[in-house]
């Protein structure tokens, strides 16, 4: 029942048969997915399931960014890594897992992390960006790189037993991260996994849901979660969706007269803007 001329090989057809059978997805959405590319910034709690599900689903190219190595305290939630790979660079470890799951996917590793000097060069090569980082400094940088290059940004976060997800910079009117948070939160307002703890499967749920949004976005099906924030309260077992503002005309990134541009982004001092180093450092474990 499929047209004779399509771009999928026999192995693609067998592997993705359950997507091809799906009336709301089918051959053309799978072809778009197989031709699309996604950059995942952060191979931790959110990036682990997102990378596995996007590799499994058959995106054409997957880019994996990290700067850190796998630590034993990551393994309670970062299920793409293994005990044998403790000490290995996270992008390398994640790439190995993706390749073992689906060798049809091209996996690129970006080993130096994400910083103002390399941001545009990395983002330029992908259709969609997935923010799976752990600190506001990198989140502002990813946002600005996506805005100046016109890429949709599937963003999620999790701390404690709470999770949040939205798609920034998508379509005509959807806000960017700076539209929502023009002023950076103070460091003391940013609870982090390393200080506050996080229940392992909570970033897991949010990361899989990021993969769902990317599959919809690249496949061209369904309603993308833009101008809406999905909130997960794991203790209550409850999801809530709330309506967000549209673009702010005065936004310095996506507004009518943006002050952040392709030309000057590399020189922007993100650490000065947020007052925080771009890390989620581990606490001292001596108290334990």
């Amino acid at each position: 029942s499929f047209a004779c001329s399509h771009s999928l090989s026999k192995e693609h057809v067998q592997r993705y048969s359950r997507h091809l059978l799906l009336p709301s997805f089918g051959l053309s959405a799978q072809e778009r997915l197989c031709q699309g590319s996604v950059l995942i910034v952060g191979c931790g709690g959110l990036g682990s399931p997102a990378a596995l599900y996007l590799a499994a689903s058959g995106v054409g190219t997957l880019g994996l960014v990290d700067h850190d190595v796998v630590d034993l305290s990551n393994l309670h939630r970062q299920i793409i890594h293994t005990e044998a790979r403790v000490g290995v660079h996270k992008a390398t470890s994640a790439a190995q897992a993706c390749a073992a799951l689906n060798s049809l996917v091209k996996v690129n590793t970006h080993m130096d992390g994400f910083n103002p000097a390399n941001a545009l060069e990395i983002v330029r090569g992908y259709d969609v960006v997935l923010d799976a980082t752990d600190n506001p400094t990198t989140r502002y940088l990813i946002n600005d790189a996506c805005v100046v290059l016109g890429k949709p940004l599937v963003s999620a976060a999790a701390v404690g037993t709470d999770g949040q997800l939205t798609v920034y910079n998508y379509g005509e009117d959807a806000p960017c991260y700076r539209c929502l948070f023009p002023e950076s939160p103070a460091p003391e307002n940013c609870s982090r996994c390393a200080d506050a703890g996080v229940l392992g499967p909570v970033p897991g749920a949010m990361g899989v849901l990021q993969a769902v949004e990317v599959v919809k976005l690249l496949g061209g099906v369904g309603d993308v979660l833009a101008k809406k924030l999905l909130i997960f309260d794991a203790l209550a077992g409850r999801f809530t969706t709330v309506r967000l503002r549209g673009k702010r005309t005065e936004c310095v990134a996506c507004g009518l007269c943006p002050s952040i541009t392709r030309e000057n982004l590399a020189a922007y001092d993100y650490v000065a803007f947020t007052g925080q180093a771009p890390t989620d450092a581990a606490p001292s474990l001596s108290v334990l």
Binding site: G42, A157, G160, P185
Partner: protein
């Protein structure tokens, strides 16, 4: 007037570890209850920990999203938004971890 005040994303830690507060706001000489007034009222009456993490000037701290009936308060006038009986105001701390 009865309104619900909800604290999410860790904000509940500042408000007696309670996520949902159903409160009765008294009429005071015909002065309307705006979201701005409710923020001050919550600081006086509900906040139990570290007030410096809730407010900055006469508004909430950067990084806190405010919703009125599950809609971003930017869609209804922010501090000046007038509340009706039965409304819900939600304060969400934006998360950054992953």
């Amino acid at each position: 007037m009865k309104v619900k005040l909800e604290f999410s994303g860790g904000m509940d830690l500042l408000f007696g570890n309670k996520k949902m507060h159903e409160v009765e706001l008294a009429e005071t000489n015909g002065k309307r209850w705006t979201v701005g007034r409710v923020i001050m009222w919550a600081r006086e009456n509900l906040l139990t920990e570290r007030p410096e993490l809730f407010m900055k000037g006469d508004s909430v701290r950067p990084g806190i999203l405010v919703l009125v009936n599950d809609c971003d308060w930017e869609l209804s006038g922010t501090l000046d938004c007038e509340l009706q009986d039965g409304d819900t105001v939600t304060f969400i701390s934006t998360l950054h971890g992953g």
